[in-house]
Amino acid sequence: VKVTFWGTRGSQASPGADTVRYGGNTSCVEVRNDAGQLVVLDAGTGIRRLGASIGPDVPRVDVLLTHLHLDHIQGLGFFDCLYRPDFDVHLWGPASTTLHLWSRLSRYLSPPLFPVRLRDLPCTLSLHDVPLGEFEIPGFKVRAALVCHPAPTVGYRLEADGVSITYISDHEPALGAKELFGPPEWTSGFDLAEDTDLLVHDAQYTDAEYTSRVGWGHSTVGHAVAFARAVRARRFVPFHYDPTHDDAMLDRMHDLARASLPAECELIPAREGATIEVVAPPNMVAPTTEREPSSSGA
């Protein structure tokens, strides 16, 4: 399974010379199984370039949205696949307590915020209120569960080709917790991430920043490291970078985080354009390759 990062940033896109190594686009991750079947995690601004890379050999794409905050859906209107009549697009995301996904997404994809309405898109579009629990999409077994973040937000665990990838982009498991982390049954996200081969997890803040942002729904790098340790992740990918953090600062944050991880858990920072290949044990994970996303897809 190959995991490619098209957007690594949280909250707001932050392009510029000082973010060019880790990237400035908001959350969007491509996951492809060995058969070439494709899942997209979140539709931040990074999805525009991903869409342009998908060739005619791929007839269907499933986009799994964690939640509907703008940094996770802002790119949707610029996702090329939605404008292709021959294309089958499935959007999955959490309903609210009163509104289905269609109604919630229509608030963004309609005037005055956007000129094109959901119902006018030429692709074959299917919207699904994401079921909580296990379900299957072509090539992947998926588990979704609500996690600690303001408004309905899910994390995903994808399984394919004998490996698991857990994606919890926006997560504050430390909220109110008396210790990091206590019993697994009282830890948000634990079942999704337990023993996962690759954990992509919110690591937005420094400790100093967090003190004034408690309850905003995000983790410090330290929280994310503690979570990765608690769930025994084999590889940990810090993700959802704060828009105010430049490359140099992220380097420092990752160096500190790396020093806190056990030897059996490797830290691989999310970088826009990088692909991580996850393979089944015993080799577990093949060497990481970094490259610019190309028009040939992943």
Binding site: A177, W186, S188
Partner: protein, 131 residues
Amino acid sequence: VPQHEIEVILMRELASYLAMAIFVVDPAGELLYYNEPAELLLGRRFDETGPMSMEEWSKDFEPFDDDGQPVPADDLPLVIAVQERHPAHGTIWIRAADGRTRRLAITAIPLLGLADRRLGAAAVFWEADES
């Protein structure tokens, strides 16, 4: 032990910060948690109690009414909330683990999640006047 639903985790965290007594059960009525103010009224620390079935906790505190008659489990507000999925209120006496009897006013609410998931129930209770 499987991880609890996020709403239940947040309910427990919230209860741990509040100054009123709160008691949380799962969909089967099994005790999941009660907070420190509840410990004072129930006369026992939660860490000493641990998880208890509904059958156990509904008898353990020997609930009785103003006439001294035992209150059946099905009439307890928390049992009503978890079984019938609607709020319930009542005032009962209990014999706490510290040996004292207390008259408690109890308001219980069901915990219902997205997609019509039954998550359990929570009760807030406080010491009521004896009149």
